[in-house]
C-alpha cells in the first residue's frame, strides 16, 4: 500500500501504514525527496504511529530519507514510535542518529517550527 503524502503549509506529512512493504518504503523515500524540492518544503513529518515493527531495513530507509531531505535544506521528524517498537529498535542497535523524533504529530510540528525559527535567526 502506497504511503500518502500530505502538504500542510511549509511541511510535508507522510503517515506510514501498518502493512507497508519494503518497496513502498523505498518509493516513499524517493517521493518525499522529490516533493521537498517541488514545494520547497521546510520540514517533513513521518508518522509511524501504526507501525508495529521497525526492523533494520525500515530504520535504515527512514534514516537515509532524513539525510537526503536535509541535503535539500529541510528537517525530518519521525513521530509516533510506539513503546515496544522503540525498545526493540534499541535492542537491535538502531538509534536513528541525527533524526528528530517526537511523541505525536502535534509535538512533531512544534519541533519543526523550532528548527525553522532557529534557521531563520541563523540567516539561512
Amino acid at each position: 500500500m502506497r504511503v500518502p503524502i500530505l502538504r500542510q503549509g511549509p511541511y510535508l506529512i507522510a503517515s506510514i501504514q501498518a502493512a507497508v512493504t519494503d518497496e513502498d518504503l523505498l518509493h516513499l523515500g524517493q517521493e518525499v525527496v522529490e516533493r521537498v524540492g517541488q514545494y520547497r518544503s521546510r520540514g517533513v513529518i513521518l508518522d509511524v504511529t501504526v507501525l508495529d515493527v521497525m526492523d533494520s531495513f525500515a530504520a535504515r530507509t527512514l534514516r537515509d530519507l532524513a539525510r537526503a531531505v536535509r541535503l535539500r535544506g529541510a528537517e525530518t521528524v519521525i513521530v509516533g514510535i510506539q513503546p515496544e517498537v522503540a525498545f526493540s529498535m534499541v535492542r537491535l542497535g538502531l538509534s536513528l542518529e541525527g533524526v528528530g523524533t517526537a511523541l505525536d504529530l502535534e509535538d512533531g510540528l512544534a519541533l519543526l517550527d523550532q528548527h525553522v525559527r532557529r534557521r531563520g535567526k541563523g540567516g539561512r
Binding site: 502493512a19 512493504t21 526492523d55 533494520s56 525498545f87 526493540s88 535492542r91
Partner: protein, 133 residues
C-alpha cells in the same frame, strides 16, 4: 499445544505476513507486548535475509515447551547459496547486500537462543527461540 505454522517467503509482502503470524502466536503463548514485538522484529530480519540472499524460502513458527517454560521457535530455511563464513556473518556491520548488516546479529540479540547452519550451495537454516519469563 497447537501445531506449527509455515509461511513461504518469496516476496516483500510475505515478510509482513510472517511477522504478523509470529506475533499472533506469541500473543497466544502469553508473551508480553514488548516480547511480541521483539519476536516479530526478529522474524522480519531473518525473513528479509531469505529474500536478500536466497530469493525464496520459508519461515516455520512452532510453539515449544520445556518443563514449566513456554516458548516460540522460529525457523528460517532456504535453499540458497549458503553463507561461507558464519562468524563473519554474525558480526555487527557485516553485509554483502547493502543492508544495514544487522539482520542476523540483530535477530540474535532479540531472541534467547539462536543457531545457524549453512552449507555453501545447499542453503541456510536459522533456528531461534524465545521463552516467556
Amino acid at each position: 499445544m497447537d501445531g506449527e505454522t509455515r509461511v513461504p517467503i518469496c516476496r516483500d509482502s510475505d515478510i509482513i505476513l510472517a511477522r504478523q503470524q509470529g506475533r499472533a502466536l506469541a500473543a497466544q503463548l502469553g508473551f508480553s507486548s514488548i516480547d511480541q514485538t521483539l519476536i516479530a522484529t526478529a522474524i522480519s530480519e531473518v525473513a528479509r535475509n531469505i529474500l536478500l540472499y536466497a530469493r525464496q524460502g520459508e519461515i516455520i513458527l512452532r510453539p515449544v515447551s520445556q518443563s514449566e517454560k513456554k516458548g516460540i521457535t522460529v525457523i528460517a530455511r532456504d535453499e540458497g547459496p549458503g553463507i561461507p563464513d558464519l562468524t563473519l556473518a554474525l558480526q555487527n556491520g557485516y553485509s554483502t547486500s547493502n543492508s544495514l548488516g544487522l539482520g542476523l546479529p540483530g535477530a540474535k540479540r532479540l531472541m534467547d537462543e539462536f543457531a545457524i547452519v549453512s552449507e555453501v550451495g545447499k542453503g541456510t537454516t536459522v533456528t531461534m527461540t524465545k521463552w516467556t519469563q
